[in-house]
Structures are given as structure tokens and as C-alpha cells.
């Protein structure tokens, strides 16, 4: 079933290096894609939440050593969005900035890269983020249509032109939707929803369980909004045409089992279990986290909110990419001799309800834990009250390059609110990978 074994870093290797602190962070509201390009590009979003974040820091924006931004669907006007964002944020001409891409893990990859640079002593202060505007995902011409355009361009004589024109087929006008292609794995030729269907089948997750999970996710997010738990996390976004977005707008407080039951399977109709209602939403959003060394903390008198203890990336067959969190989180827990009991809060990105539930089931499966994770005993049953306490991508949406950043930011905020010590943020990654990060509250 899983052909991957965990590669183990020695503990000494991990604990070497300087401590790395999370100082602050902010994100935009997550704005549901509504069938047309939204008001913000990826960089616009990064600027919207970056400006207020930088404004409240006691140091100057140009004091950063580096900017790293995760972004999957880079639009053609914004190649290397990290650098464009850095410049637009007034961080100065001399600010190095690069963009990272590991699909759904990109926003965490930026934090991890920053973490490792600071840990190794290469940098002291890094702005690491994620930005995604899935509503701006492009429409492409079909390959045959592009060839037709080219032949028309090459035609020099009138006769050739007429001949080329005549070769036109109406089908050429039908665009290829970039987003759908992007969410399909080219190696196993399954789209992401199908990988969730596969996990639901393998781990026997029912449609009702997935729907129940989705309802809970919406209601947790709704409660968090009502109670103001997200107030110190979200910065309102102002569009150039005068709109203001203050809240994640994908939440459905009235979501219920009855309503979700009515939805048809989106990916494998008519028998599948994965519906739009129990999947993450397609959404635009950006998020930043500031990471600092001890030196930077002292120099600028910063107040660390958390310390990054460890991180891990794992990989497995793309067809079951949803199990990625189990591999990467377990690797960290093993390295630090931690059990589920030692982790006070979890953020597992909700790509699909069935996928999250499959992860939980895998940890509770003796066979799986033994053969795949190399554990004598199963990890056990995770208490769902400490998992995604304020909802997740099912209600918020999943701007792919941003989500990994958001779950780290939110984990830090939730640990402070609930006064918890240890937390893990982890996500599954399209293409068959998983990323995880162990965070400790300061």
C-alpha cells in the first residue's frame, strides 16, 4: 500500500543550530473564488496582509535579510512573486527574495527554508509567506489551437493564409482550464478528489463521516469568527475599486448534514463520497510569518510567540497523497520521542474531510503503524477536540500556496489563546508528499 519508508535524521543533527522564533504573522481573509478573477492577484494579497504586519514591527522593512514566498499558480504578470511583493512592500531594492513551490506545502516550505537558514546562521530575520489567487488561474488554448495560430502567422501568401484559416476547428476555442489541470496528478492521472476517494475506500470512511466532519469544520470556523478568535490574525483587504474584505467568506454557518447529503459526488459520480461540501474550497488568500534568530530578537527587542522545534517532509505514491501528514508528523514525533498525548494542538490541512479522517484512522491502525511507520504500538486515537480547533480549509478554503503558512500562523495563535505548549501543523501535498512542523509556544 505505501511504498515509502521514513528516512530518519539523527536527533543530534536536528538539535544543532540556533533557535528560530516566530515573531508575528498576519493573513488576508480567505476570499472564495466566484467563477471569475477576484479583485487581488497573488502579490496584491501578499501586499495587503504584509503592509499592516510590517507597520507594527519595531524594525524597518529593509532590516529583513530575505523574503521567501510560496506560490503555486504564479500569474504571468508576477514572475517571482516573492520579489515583487518585497519591492511593493517597500522593503528596498536590495532585498533578496525568492519563490518556493511544492504545491499545497509551499506556504510551509517558505517557513521551513527560512527556519533552516536562520538555524544555520545564514540569516537573522526572514519574512516567509504564501500567496495564491486561484481565481486568477489561467485559461489556456489547446495545443492544436496554438499550432493553428502559428501556421497562420507563418503563412505569407494569400493562398497560404486562406488554407490556414480554413483549417480552423471550433473546438480550438474551447479553453483548457488551468486550475483543473493543476489539480490533476499527471503521473497517476488522478485528480485530487479521486485520491481522496481512494483513501475513503481504503480506510472505509463513509460519506456520512466525511459530511459530519465538514459540518463541524464550518461550525468551528463560525464560532471562531463570532468570538473574535481570528481578529489578531486577519488583516482586512482593500481592493482598488473600494471593496473591503474583512472575514473569510467561505464559511457556511447553516451547514448541516441534511444539506450536505443532497450534494452529488464531484469527482467520481455517481457512487463516490467526496462532494464539494466535504472538500476544501477554491479560494484566494495570502499569509506571512516573521521568523527571527535570538540575535534579531535581542537587537530589535522582539517578543517571540513561538519557537520552531523541527520540520519534516515525506513522500509517497501520488495516488494516496492525503496520507502525507501521517508520514511527516510521525517522523518528527519519533525523533523527539513524542506520542499523541504530548501534542496539545493539531492543524492538519483539510484538503478533504475523507483525507483527514483517513490520516486519523491510519494512526489508529496497528498494521499501518507497524509496517509503514515502524511503530511497535499504534499511535492511537487522536482527540478531535484538539484538531483544527477553529475550523480549516473546508470552511475557509484552500489557497494552495498559502494554506501551509496559515496553519502554522493559526497554530501559534491558537496555542496562545488556549495556553498550549506543543503543536504540530501538517498538510498533505498534491503529487504525493507531506510536510509537518513542530511548534512550541514561548
Amino acid at each position: 500500500m505505501v511504498q515509502t519508508t521514513l528516512h530518519q535524521h539523527s536527533e543530534a543533527q536536528v538539535l544543532q543550530g540556533r533557535p528560530v522564533y516566530i515573531i508575528d504573522g498576519a493573513r488576508t481573509p480567505f476570499i472564495k473564488a466566484r467563477g471569475k478573477p477576484g479583485p487581488f492577484t497573488p502579490v496584491d494579497l501578499a501586499v495587503q496582509c504584509g503592509r499592516p504586519l510590517l507597520l507594527r514591527q519595531p524594525f524597518h522593512p529593509s532590516d529583513f535579510d530575505e523574503v521567501i514566498l510560496g506560490c503555486v499558480s504564479v500569474i504571468s504578470d508576477e514572475m517571482n512573486p516573492a520579489r515583487i511583493a518585497a519591492l511593493r512592500l517597500g522593503m528596498g531594492d536590495s532585498m533578496p527574495a525568492f519563490t518556493v513551490q511544492i504545491n499545497c506545502g509551499s506556504g510551509m516550505q517558505s517557513i521551513d527554508t527560512a527556519y533552516k537558514y536562520i538555524r544555520a546562521g545564514n540569516a537573522d530575520l526572514i519574512l516567509a509567506g504564501g500567496a495564491e489567487a486561484l481565481s486568477h488561474a489561467p485559461l489556456f488554448f489547446r495545443r492544436q489551437a496554438v499550432e493553428w495560430f502559428a501556421s497562420l502567422n507563418r503563412a505569407s501568401s494569400l493562398a497560404q493564409k486562406i488554407k490556414s484559416l480554413a483549417a480552423f476547428k471550433p473546438g480550438y476555442l474551447k479553453p483548457v482550464i488551468g486550475l483543473l489541470r493543476g489539480l490533476t496528478d499527471p503521473v497517476v492521472e488522478m485528480n485530487m478528489g479521486q485520491t481522496a476517494e481512494k483513501l475513503a475506500y481504503l480506510f472505509d470512511i463513509t460519506r456520512q463521516q466525511a459530511d459530519e466532519y465538514a459540518v463541524a469544520s464550518h461550525s468551528r470556523l463560525h464560532r471562531a469568527q463570532q468570538e473574535g478568535f481570528l481578529q489578531n490574525e486577519i488583516e482586512p483587504a482593500f481592493s482598488s475599486c473600494g471593496q473591503v474584505f474583512e472575514h473569510d467568506d467561505g464559511v457556511r454557518p447553516d451547514s448541516s448534514l441534511e444539506k450536505l447529503a443532497k450534494l452529488s459526488p464531484a469527482f467520481e459520480p455517481p457512487h463516490g463520497k467526496v462532494t464539494p461540501g466535504n472538500s476544501s474550497q477554491i479560494t484566494d488568500g495570502a499569509s506571512w510569518v516573521i521568523l527571527a534568530s535570538e540575535d534579531a530578537v535581542n537587537r530589535y527587542k522582539l517578543e517571540p510567540r513561538a519557537i520552531i522545534k523541527d520540520s519534516e517532509w515525506s513522500a509517497l505514491s501520488p495516488s494516496i497523497m492525503g496520507l502525507g501528514p501521517v508520514l511527516s508528523s510521525t517522523a518528527i514525533m519519533k525523533r523527539h520521542q513524542l506520542t499523541l498525548d504530548n501534542i496539545d494542538l493539531w492543524e492538519i490541512n483539510e484538503a478533504f474531510a475523507a483525507q483527514v479522517l483517513a490520516c486519523l484512522k491510519a494512526w489508529n491502525d496497528t498494521d499501518f503503524c507497524k509496517s509503514v511507520l515502524g511503530l511497535e504500538q499504534p499511535m492511537g486515537e487522536m482527540d478531535q477536540s484538539i484538531l483544527n480547533v477553529d475550523g480549516g480549509a473546508i470552511g475557509l478554503g484552500h489557497p494552495v500556496g498559502t494554506s501551509g503558512n496559515r496553519i502554522v500562523l493559526h497554530l501559534v495563535n491558537a496555542m496562545h489563546r488556549l495556553d498550549k505548549k506543543n503543536g504540530i501543523a501538517t498538510e498533505c501535498i498534491g503529487g504525493g508528499q507531506g510536510g509537518a512542523m513542530l511548534i512550541e509556544k514561548v
Binding site: R56, S94, F238, S240
Partner: protein, 697 residues
């Protein structure tokens, strides 16, 4: 420490060509192709102007040109700011008509000499190329524009004249004559790509390609460029007659011929002499010499210098890069957008997100209205940072408070913000109606607090009142004056006085209009009368623009604080405001408004009051405003009466050709005005009683 590499690289000079000084105002070099490059470098000045000595020296250089026998002549500028900002207006001041004509003849001779050289002549133009500067460029055979910031135009009409160094006939010959006339009649410049499409320049290149472009132009230039047939046709007598008629009608709307003779003189010139350069040249000289010595031009030139002197008040550096604005209402929002557009970092704070979003939207719209590029608009909006947590306060160099006009609210706010301000940050209030010293107690450091009163709409109104209180430090005043100048506004220092200067002077004028309405005089007639005097907008329309609520608020405050009686606001007008008929912003005031414009009734009905002569009504409207200005002058509210005139012109549009209220009052005669006021006072009440300041005016 991070190094600005770009700045260092751009300052590397050793790779550029070296010029030597040949005349006090001219640099030159002869390159290996024997091209003679001249650069205008007006001594002791940051910008070039075309003064008599500059032209005289050019004439000497041209005299010497046969000895050098260059293959071509190139004229450029050594000033980073631009090619040439125009004629030296100072030299116009002292001449009478015949002296003026003589001076013009000398100038024409030099430019004609340049125009008739045998070798190719090329003007290389960057930045401003205005008025006389453009006339110099037009005398060259070809013009090469340098991209980014190129501005070419004839702003002379704003000074009450038209081009006088050959511009009228050279431009109408070079480009589409109707476009040329429109440029000169409106005084509007052409920018960057426009200059190329209109044919003002033959080529438009990056500064790094100037050398190659000049060589290409010289090569090409041997072949004489032919005039476009359409341009030739448009310059025929029949077309000129037809177009001139339309131009006169258009001009009459903007600048009535009674007060502004220049546009009509220009139209006559072209209509009559458009087909002969010689005749047009002679007529241009005559017409210019007569216009420049007219009352209108003298007053408009005076305003030009008032503008300069107000702008140049500030000697210090503002040292303000980050402005924090509290209150995103219409004033706060507009100030924020304006500052962001001028390149400053702006944080805009409000308790609500919606007004901030509106400010962002309006700023985007303003950028588009001002033809900013997409990237410029984006950068402006990036600099305008919505700040819902007031975080910008701590790093800002200047904090502008624009919260509601309540002393308590403002003082309470200051208590919370002052401790968070940087040590050298300045706090200003945009109050229009509260005396500044009423806000100082409770401040830890009142020395860094003052008033800075912007006018609505901020993007259009140049004037800003700077109001210090007794304990404001001079350093803070200096920095605020410099800041105002840096953002392209004109500061006028005003003492803390009810309504400061502008509202103090304007309110009696607006109130009198309301009284007239009550008497049954038609609103359009009232507005017409004011416009006939030379105001840009009638008082009734202005009330609707400002907002009835604000007018009433200011009027009540003045009535409360001043000893002088004010006209009483009738109850039904107050009721109107209470019912939400506030004017433009609510769609209905005294006028009906639609899409920001007045919806005109087909025919105004009441005409029974026509027996009252216009002059009487004009005096009733204008004299109370003059009287208030005299009062402010007597009390020293504005120290320099010239500044007072400038303030009223730039803030209210007070008939510019009349030179300002004090200047107008002096011209008309204080005694005559006092007599009239006394008569009005008997007829209409105490509010017309002349101020004691008239005696010493």
C-alpha cells in the same frame, strides 16, 4: 548598511561627454563628427529661463558659428529638471508697450537667425519645455524628446498673454493648426507620448539613446520634411474663419472676453494672418506687447509671483516621509490619497473599514483622472496603507488629525496618541472651525502642534492654511510649510481666528446669497452675477458643493465668536439641511444634482425681481467678503496683504484678473467702497457696516 547601488551607478559621471563653458549661460562641445552641442545652463538657477542675456549670448554664439563651421547644431539643457521653463517673467514687469516690442524684436531676430542656419539644427528636450523654451525649440529644424517626464506647452494664456517669441506662427505651421491653437488657448501641455503623436517632437527616445537619435536626425534632416496636406488644408482662410468662430464661443465659456482679452487676440492673429508667417510675426509682437501691459496680464503676472513667493516661504527641509492620518472621512481620505500620490508613505486610520475603502477607491479614481499609468496607480495605492489599528502612529513623521469637529473628541484623541508619537513627529489638526489654542491644553508638548487646513476637494484646491498657535515652535512651522510645498500645495500662514482667513471671508458672501434667495431672487441669477464679477462658481452652487450642513456649522460658529453681526440663516434653510438636502453629496440642495453635476431646469420661472440692478447685487455679494478681508488685514490674521490676496485667489478662485480682494479694493478705492457699504448697511442691516480697517487700507 545597505548601499543604494542604482544611485551610485547613476552618479558615475566619468563616461559622459564633457562640456566647456563658452558664455555665462551656455556650455558647448564640438564632437569628433564636428557636431556642435550647446547646453543652456542658466547661471545661479536650478531651472533654465529664457532671459534677454541668454538670447544675446546665443546670438553671439551663432555669430561665431561660421568660424567653427560645424556639421550640425544641437541645443539641449544642462539642468536635470528640464529644457527650459519659459521666458523670464520678471523682465516683463517693468516695460511699457514700446520697450516690450523692442525687446521682442531683438528676441525674434535671434530665433530667426537660428531658424535660417544652413546646417541641420536639433533641439534635445527633456523635462519641462514651456513658453519661450518651446519657442526656442520650435526655431530648430528638428526636435528630439527624451522619454519620462517630458512636458511641452504654452502656458502664457494663464498670464493673460499668448506666445510672443514666434510660437503662434511656428506652432500652427508645424502641427495641426487646430491642435496648436487649442494648446495655446487652454495653456494645457502635452506630455510624453502625446508630444510625438501631435508632432511636437520628431522622435521620442530614452535619454541613453539621445546621441544616436541626434545623428540619425541629422542624416535624415537633409531632406526637408513636407507639411502634411491635412494641416495645410486646416490652415486655409475658410477653415480658419469657421474654426475661429467656434474657438471664440468656447473661450467665452471659460474666460469672458470682457476680462480676458488674450484668447481673442490670439484667435484674431491666426484668423487674419494665418497664411503669412511674416504678417503673423509682426502682429504677434504687437499683440503681445499690448497684452502684457494690460491690467489683466499685470494682475495675472502678479498672481504668478504670489504663487512663487508663497511656495518659496519654506526654507527648511520637511523631513516628512511617512504621514499618518486619523479619520478617513472625505477630508482625511482625500488628504491621504493626495499625499500617497505625491510619493509619501501614508497610513490611514479609522474605526470603520468602509470609509477607508472609499478613500482607496477615490485615490484610484484620482490616479486614473490624472492619467497615471497602471504601475503608478498601483504604487500609489500600495503607499496608501489602511491602518485599522493605528500602528502607523509610532513611525510617522507627521500626524494629521481629521476627526469630527468636536473639541472633546479631538482632545481625547490627542491624549491617547501623543504618547505614542516619535520624538520629532508633528501633530496637526485639519479643523476648519475650532481655534487652535483651544486644543492645546492637555498636550505634553504643544510646541509641535498646529493647524493645517486643507480645502475640499483636496486634489483641486491648491491652498492650505497653516495655523500656528502662540507656542508652536518655529521649526515646526517651517517644516509644515516645507511639507505643504513638497506635496504641491500652497501654504498660507494664518493666525488662529474664527474661520481662519478663507472661511471668515467666504461665509458672509455665502450667507448673503441665502438672504437674496429668501428675498425671492432667482438662484441662477445670483450665481450669474457672481460669475460675471469673475468668481469661478456662483455662491449658491458653492454652498451645494461644500454642503449645507457644513456651511451652517461654520456660519453658526462665526456668529458665535465674532462681534460683527452675521446674516441670520432662515429657519427653512436649516430645516432643509435637517431633511438631508445638503447639496451635491446628497443629490439635492438648492439645486438638483445628478452624477456630480447640476440638473438645470428648462426655464427658470421667477423673474419679477428684475428691477434690482446687477451692480447692486454684485456689491451685496462681494463687498462683505472684501470687508472681512480688510478686517483680517487690520488684525494681522495674514501678515502680508499680498499673501491674503493669494490665499483668496487660490482657495476660493476669487476673480484672478482682479488681482485679489485687497488689490481690487485698493484699485476700486477704499472711500467709494466704504460709502457703498454704509448705504447697504442702511438698506439691509448692520452686517454691512464697514470695518475700521478701511481707513488705513
Amino acid at each position: 548598511m545597505k548601499v543604494d547601488v542604482l544611485e551610485h551607478v547613476e552618479n558615475l559621471n566619468q563616461y559622459g561627454p564633457t562640456y566647456t563653458s563658452v558664455k555665462p549661460n551656455w556650455l558647448s562641445r564640438l564632437d569628433e563628427r564636428s557636431i556642435l552641442w550647446l547646453q543652456l545652463d542658466k547661471q545661479d538657477s536650478s531651472a533654465n529661463t529664457l532671459s534677454e542675456d541668454v538670447l544675446q549670448e546665443l546670438s553671439e554664439i551663432l555669430d561665431d558659428i561660421d568660424n567653427k563651421s560645424p556639421t550640425a547644431l544641437v541645443i539641449g539643457s544642462a539642468k536635470p529638471k528640464g529644457f527650459c521653463a519659459g521666458a523670464d517673467i520678471k523682465s516683463f514687469k517693468s516695460h511699457d508697450e514700446s520697450e516690450m516690442a523692442n525687446m521682442l524684436h531683438r528676441g525674434h531676430a535671434v530665433l530667426d537667425r537660428l531658424a535660417s542656419l544652413d546646417v541641420p539644427t536639433v533641439a534635445v528636450i527633456h523635462g519641462h519645455c514651456l513658453g519661450g523654451g518651446l519657442e526656442l525649440a520650435l526655431a530648430c529644424q528638428q526636435r528630439i524628446g527624451v522619454k519620462n517626464g517630458l512636458e511641452m506647452g504654452f502656458p502664457e494664456i494663464r498670464l493673460g498673454v499668448h506666445p510672443g517669441l514666434g510660437g503662434t506662427y511656428r506652432l500652427t505651421r508645424l502641427i495641426n493648426p487646430v491642435t496648436a491653437m487649442t494648446m495655446m488657448l487652454t495653456g494645457k501641455s502635452a506630455y510624453d507620448r502625446q508630444t510625438k503623436s501631435q508632432g511636437l517632437v520628431d522622435d521620442l527616445v530614452e535619454s541613453r539613446h539621445v546621441e544616436n537619435a541626434v545623428c540619425a536626425a541629422i542624416e535624415k534632416g537633409v531632406r526637408k520634411r513636407r507639411r502634411k496636406f491635412s494641416n495645410f488644408m486646416l490652415n486655409t482662410l475658410a477653415v480658419r474663419k469657421f474654426a475661429a468662430k467656434k474657438m471664440r464661443a468656447e473661450s467665452e465659456k471659460k474666460a469672458p472676453s470682457t476680462y480676458y482679452p488674450a484668447p481673442y487676440a490670439l484667435i484674431d492673429l491666426w484668423e487674419k494672418f494665418g497664411s503669412s508667417t511674416h504678417k503673423m510675426q509682426a502682429a504677434e509682437i504687437q499683440s503681445f506687447a499690448s497684452l502684457i501691459t494690460s491690467e489683466t496680464a499685470r494682475n495675472l503676472v502678479r498672481i504668478f509671483f504670489l504663487h512663487q513667493s508663497l511656495k518659496n516661504q519654506a526654507k527648511a527641509r520637511a523631513d516628512i516621509q511617512h504621514v499618518h492620518i486619523i479619520g478617513a472621512g472625505s477630508m482625511g481620505g482625500e488628504i491621504a490619497g493626495w499625499c500617497a500620490m505625491q510619493g509619501l508613505k501614508v497610513t490611514l486610520s479609522d474605526q470603520q473599514a468602509e470609509p477607508v475603502a472609499k478613500a482607496v477607491n477615490n485615490t484610484g479614481q484620482l490616479c486614473r483622472d490624472k492619467h497615471r499609468t497602471g504601475a503608478e496607480t498601483r504604487d500609489t495605492l500600495d503607499r496608501l496603507i489602511p491602518d485599522m489599528r493605528n500602528d502607523g502612529l509610532e513611525n510617522a513623521d507627521l500626524i494629521i488629525e481629521a476627526v469630527p469637529e468636536k473639541i472633546d473628541i479631538k482632545k481625547k484623541l490627542y491624549q491617547t496618541i501623543e504618547p505614542r508619537m516619535k520624538a520629532n513627529a508633528i501633530l496637526v489638526t485639519n479643523t476648519s472651525s475650532i481655534l487652535i489654542e483651544k486644543l492645546t491644553d492637555g498636550l505634553r508638548n504643544p510646541a509641535r502642534f498646529m493647524g493645517l487646513h486643507f480645502f475640499n476637494p483636496v486634489s483641486k484646491m491648491l491652498m492650505v492654511e497653516a495655523i500656528a498657535h502662540d507656542n508652536t515652535s518655529t521649526d515646526v512651522v517651517e517644516r509644515i510649510l516645507a511639507f505643504t510645498r513638497d506635496i504641491g500645495k500652497i501654504p498660507v500662514q494664518v493666525a488662529s481666528y474664527p474661520g481662519f482667513l478663507v472661511n471668515r471671508a467666504l461665509t458672509p458672501y455665502l450667507l448673503e446669497a441665502i438672504v437674496m434667495l429668501e428675498e425671492g431672487i432667482d438662484k441662477t441669477r445670483i450665481d450669474e452675477i457672481a460669475k460675471n464679477f469673475g468668481m469661478p462658481m456662483g455662491p449658491v452652487e458653492l454652498i451645494d458643493q461644500i454642503g449645507l450642513d457644513i456651511c451652517i456649522h461654520v456660519a453658526d460658529m462665526l456668529a458665535d465668536l465674532l462681534d460683527k453681526p452675521m446674516a441670520r440663516i432662515p429657519d427653512n434653510v436649516r430645516k432643509k439641511a435637517e431633511n438631508g438636502e445638503l447639496g451635491k453629496k446628497s443629490g439635492k440642495g438648492f439645486y438638483q444634482w445628478e452624477n456630480g453635476k447640476i440638473k438645470r431646469d428648462k426655464k427658470s420661472t421667477s423673474k419679477q425681481e428684475t428691477n434690482i440692478p446687477d451692480d447692486h447685487l454684485t456689491d451685496r455679494l462681494i463687498l462683505p467678503m472684501l470687508d472681512a478681508c480688510v478686517e483680517c488685514h487690520r488684525l494681522g490674521i495674514v501678515k502680508d496683504p499680498d499673501h491674503l490676496d493669494g490665499a483668496m485667489i487660490f482657495a476660493t478662485g476669487f476673480a484672478p484678473f482682479r488681482g485679489g480682494p485687497i488689490h481690487y479694493a485698493r484699485t476700486r478705492g477704499a472711500n467709494e467702497i466704504v460709502t457703498t457699504l454704509e448705504k447697504l448697511s442702511q438698506q439691509h442691516g448692520e452686517r454691512f457696516k464697514p470695518d475700521q480697517g478701511w481707513q488705513s487700507l
